[in-house]
């Protein structure tokens, strides 16, 4: 499904996307096109992209192409989804250890649509962190290790 969404292939393009997307949620999916979970997530993103076109812009980023961002965003599991609004990073409290990004795939399309809507509304009210509306049972579980300890 990844061919349905625009891709960013180098750091400069990612920079440009973060800077230029205005008054919309920027969704950056870090992963690999042939990964099984990534395929699942890409399917959800591609099918909702049109419905969300007034609230969100979705880009796919290959983790191997932008090592700087992979390191800076601490991406240790793929797929990881990061949200930006007007060049500012949006944190979301998923109930998982990491608030900075969503790790894994969403269970349903509606989960993703709800999340984007909550982020958009929160950002419009000036919130830099919002609570995730997704049912905790639908959020993938994982362990986060501090610098490989």
């Amino acid at each position: 499904m990844s061919f349905l969404l625009p891709k960013l292939t180098c750091k400069r393009e990612v920079d440009q996307a973060i800077k230029s997307v205005a008054e919309k949620v920027l969704v950056l999916r870090f992963g690999r096109d042939n990964d099984a979970v990534c395929l699942q997530l890409d399917d959800i993103l591609a099918k909702t992209a049109h419905d969300l076109s007034k609230m969100a812009v979705i880009y796919l980023v290959d983790v191997n192409n932008v090592p700087v961002y992979t390191q800076y965003f601490d991406i240790s599991y793929i797929p990881s989804t990061v949200f930006f609004f007007n060049g500012q990073h949006m944190k979301v409290d998923y109930g998982s250890p990491d608030h900075t990004k969503f790790v894994g795939s969403f269970k349903t399309k509606q989960d993703f649509i709800d999340l984007i809507e909550v982020i958009y509304r929160g950002a419009m009210r000036g919130k830099l962190i919002v609570r995730s509306p997704i049912d905790p049972n639908n959020i993938p579980k994982y362990d986060l290790l501090y610098q490989g300890i």
């Binding site: 920079d15 800077k19 930006f84 007007n86 990491d98």
Partner: protein, 313 residues
């Protein structure tokens, strides 16, 4: 906070000196400097390649009256200088006025850059080095001499054609020769002093010699064509394609702006500059997982981390 009058935006800012970091001020500053840079580049390029003798031309108000706004000095600068000040009918010195100002306003630019926090790298582009101006002035002097010689030749030629039978006293040179350091004074507005006899004052009308025997009339000079300017009915009119009012693109831009005004002002990143140019090492502010402190601090943390890693290797 103190009221701070911003000369560039032409309004008082009640936020004090914070005003100069506001988006509107930065944009105006960028536009003003862009225009000045453009004018400077054009003048310098013209001065560098100009074949001086060809460039010195007869003064034409329609073509040579343009002014360039210098935000540093806060005044308009005559783009082209004029031989013998503005009131005297000398030939045009192309780009001399602007170059003279650019070479002389080093202190004003320093003040302007300091007050507006402009990029230091741009400053050199709005200045002309003294030696370059010196070179330009010398070339201009030669060009002037050449131009004067040609004018005299032309006058002699015309006279020999129009009145070959009656010898006249030799014509005074139309302009006296001026040393280089006096070039500077050309661009200042000189008071309208005694007129020197020049080609524009030459009597070319009907011969009035027959009246001399009875009564001498006082000649007060020709009232038409004294300046050598083209009469208005001979200037070419611009075709009426020039649009009145804002263009469609400007209208769209305005509509976009109005739409932005409706959004809440406290939204995230409301005053984020989407058009700023950044280098390759730019990183967005990002609250990292193990980060404490402000979000932008994680960027510095990341830089120090990656720097350490590079050192270890």
């Amino acid at each position: 906070m103190a009221v701070h009058y911003c000369g560039l935006c032409r309004r008082s800012a009640f936020t004090g000196r914070r005003h100069r970091y506001s988006t509107g001020h930065r944009r105006r500053l960028r536009e003003a400097l862009g225009q000045l840079q453009e004018a400077t580049a054009a003048a310098r390029a013209a001065a560098a390649v100009a074949d001086g003798a060809a460039a010195v031309r007869r003064y034409d108000p329609a073509e040579h009256d343009g002014r360039v706004w210098c935000p540093c000095c806060g005044r308009g600068v005559q783009r082209h200088g004029r031989r013998g000040g503005l009131e005297r009918g000398g030939p045009t010195l192309p780009h001399a006025g602007l170059l003279w100002r650019l070479a002389g306003h080093r202190r004003e630019t320093a003040r302007f850059w300091r007050e507006n926090r402009a990029e230091a790298a741009l400053r050199e582009r709005c200045l002309v080095p003294a030696e370059e101006y010196e070179r330009f002035a010398q070339a201009l002097e030669q060009a002037l001499a050449e131009h004067q010689r040609r004018e005299e030749e032309r006058i002699l030629q015309v006279r020999s054609v129009t009145s070959p039978q009656r010898p006249r006293p030799p014509l005074a040179p139309p302009h006296r020769c001026v040393p280089a350091d006096e070039l500077v004074s050309y661009f200042r507005d000189s008071p309208c002093g005694a007129e020197e006899p020049g080609p524009s004052r030459m009597q070319t009308g009907p011969d009035l010699a027959w009246m001399e025997s009875s009564k001498v009339l006082t000649f007060i000079g020709h009232q038409v064509g004294v300046t050598g300017a083209k009469p208005p009915w001979l200037t070419e009119e611009e075709d009426g394609s020039k649009q009145i009012g804002p263009s469609y693109e400007e209208f769209l831009k305005h509509k976009e702006k109005q739409k932005l005004k409706k959004l809440p002002v406290e939204r995230v990143g409301a005053n984020f500059d989407h058009t700023s140019q950044t280098s390759d090492s730019w990183l967005p502010s990002f609250g990292r997982v193990w980060n404490h402190g402000r979000r932008w601090q994680s960027r510095h943390q990341f830089r120090t981390e990656s720097g350490e890693k590079k050192k270890k290797r």
